[in-house]
Subunit: 340 residues, 2 copies
């Protein structure tokens, strides 16, 4: 029911994903009348879709705390619960992000040691996609949290972008070991010493994200959010400049018309794929952009299906256990350092 367009995008999104070859079945949670109306126009997916009536819908402006208190029985709540109950392999929603995160955390719980889910984006690069995390959920991160992001980012890239063993870099202001603040230096030391299912390459800088130097860029949620939004803003600025340039006179307009196919392909390459999972949950929940169209929603569905059919959750769990076994807890670490 969520997002700017509700079932009128979700249902065609399902149809699109099926048409693209996804062999999945779908539970659609929400208002039966609205869902039936949206499905009526899509006979091809009738056999794959089951409507699960829900009493209410969580609004776009409801606070997470409100959603947790009063969300029971809503379409979002039921969708997450269906993952918990093992009825669904993954949940996809275009609804209220804060509410979805709060309900997911409450219903599915975090994997060991994590406090709140991390958010990851797939950044388009000349070499494919670089996963950047955290992009906003965890504002301040100690070294241990950054190592957890490395583990989750590597599992994500492996499951979604097919890297055999993901290369991981830690975002910093320079590449030398003594650069940056205490948290990144400590995380750098731990990642160098620890044996995990990833290839740690050391510190990377901001320009390594669009360059695609590594499969995964790890940073705290404050820096990652600023980098992501700066990048999104710059992409919009760039598209605006292109439009301005190609409407600046008759020659520019003619040039754009002649090169239009190549320009449209470029615009598609520059688009980040829709959908991001909440990482660190005992289950798969993917958030679609609220404004996504059917094509975008289908991308989020395929992402969720890719994660569900992969080793994703198990790989994260396996590596978090290896990390915990190899290092003392965060509280002990300060003591260990003092003693050393």
């Amino acid at each position: 029911m969520g997002g700017d367009h509700g079932p009128s995008v979700v249902a065609p999104g399902v149809a699109r994903a099926v048409k693209d070859g996804l062999a999945a079945r779908f539970l659609l949670h929400g208002d039966p009348a609205a869902l039936e109306a949206a499905l009526a126009r899509l006979p091809t997916i009738a056999g794959r879709v089951e409507i699960r009536p829900a009493e209410r819908v969580i609004g776009a402006d409801e606070k997470p705390a409100q959603a947790m208190r009063r969300g029971k029985g809503s379409s979002m709540w039921n969708a997450v619960e269906s993952v918990k109950a093992g009825e669904a392999a993954a949940c996809v929603s275009a609804g209220n992000t804060g509410a979805l995160m709060a309900i997911s955390k409450l219903a599915l719980r975090m994997t060991s040691g994590m406090e709140r889910p991390a958010l990851v984006v797939s950044w388009p690069t000349p070499r494919g996609h670089t996963a950047v995390l955290d992009v906003g959920a965890n504002i301040s991160c100690d070294a241990r949290r950054l190592v957890e992001f490395a583990i989750m980012g590597a599992a994500f890239h492996h499951a979604v972008h097919g890297s055999r063993r993901a290369t991981v870099g830690l975002l910093n202001v320079g590449s030398e070991d003594e650069k940056g603040h205490e948290e990144v230096r400590e995380a750098n030391r731990i990642l160098r010493e620890m044996t995990l299912e990833l290839d740690y390459v050391g510190f990377v800088e901001g320009d390594d994200i669009p360059k695609g130097s590594v499969d995964v860029v790890v940073t705290d949620g404050f820096t990652g959010n600023v980098a992501l939004k700066t990048g999104e803003g710059l992409a919009r600025y760039f598209r605006g400049e292109l439009r301005r340039t190609f409407s600046s006179g008759p020659f520019a307009q003619l040039g754009a018309a002649i090169a239009s196919t190549a320009l449209r392909r470029m615009a598609e390459r520059l688009d980040a794929p829709n959908g991001g999972p909440f990482l660190g949950l005992n289950g798969i929940v993917v958030k679609s952009h609220g404004g996504a169209d059917a094509r975008g929603f289908a991308t989020a569905i395929r992402l969720a299906a890719g994660l569900a059919t992969s080793d994703f959750v198990a790989q994260i769990d396996r590596n978090l256990r290896a990390m915990t076994a190899a290092m003392p807890t965060t509280n002990d670490m300060a003591g260990e350092r003092t003693k050393a």
Copy 2:
């Protein structure tokens, strides 16, 4: 003598700045033979330039500590000293950044309370330029430091980009007062309460930088460096994609040829202007990109001249004093908060 090209760019850069109407005189510090050779081809500026012989040149890979210990008598050292002695109103160098900052700090000293210079960049936006600072010198910043950046950024934007009273935003992951970590929340509170020569608008997000929502965006050196390098990398990626797009087939090539004038103008708009001052020094020192050409070096010279003929240093000093008078020192602040 500094930068990738030395006098062969610096001397034509001076000529270019003069040709563009800058009524200044120049002291060129360095190897007399090399400087004379470069000037021989530029008779138009002979009357405005004086060569100051220096015994040695600081290398591109010398460490700051090394440059401070052994730099005396070098062209860079003498150039900064000429500002200290009042012989020059400003110093411009394309040489070793770390050495230039260390020597400038040693010779000119910081204004009250500052520990090290802040670095600012002018980010091109649809509305002009947004000054972003700090972009790398101060990795961890408390609230007081962020307020100092707001003061210096506003003075910079006023002097260089002509804003009457600069609008200032504090970079964060959301616009509500409770967002972000302790340092930005505290700086937000101080900036709201204090009367300074700037218009504080509150929190801004990453996409407000390329949007040009405010004249000045304030952040710590870690976040600012990541945002700047991500932006630079993304601009390179866009340029690469454009090249790829316009060579992808005969129609694309023809379109690019027909629209070439408009495309070239766009490329110029996307370029950040060359040259950044070290903020917080008792004097004006501008760092040019090492790889700048004569046009770029002339831009850095004009920037230095603009700062030198403005109220820049006095405005910073005036506002830092107002800030210090209105707030307890950083060490006292924690105590004040506890008592409150």
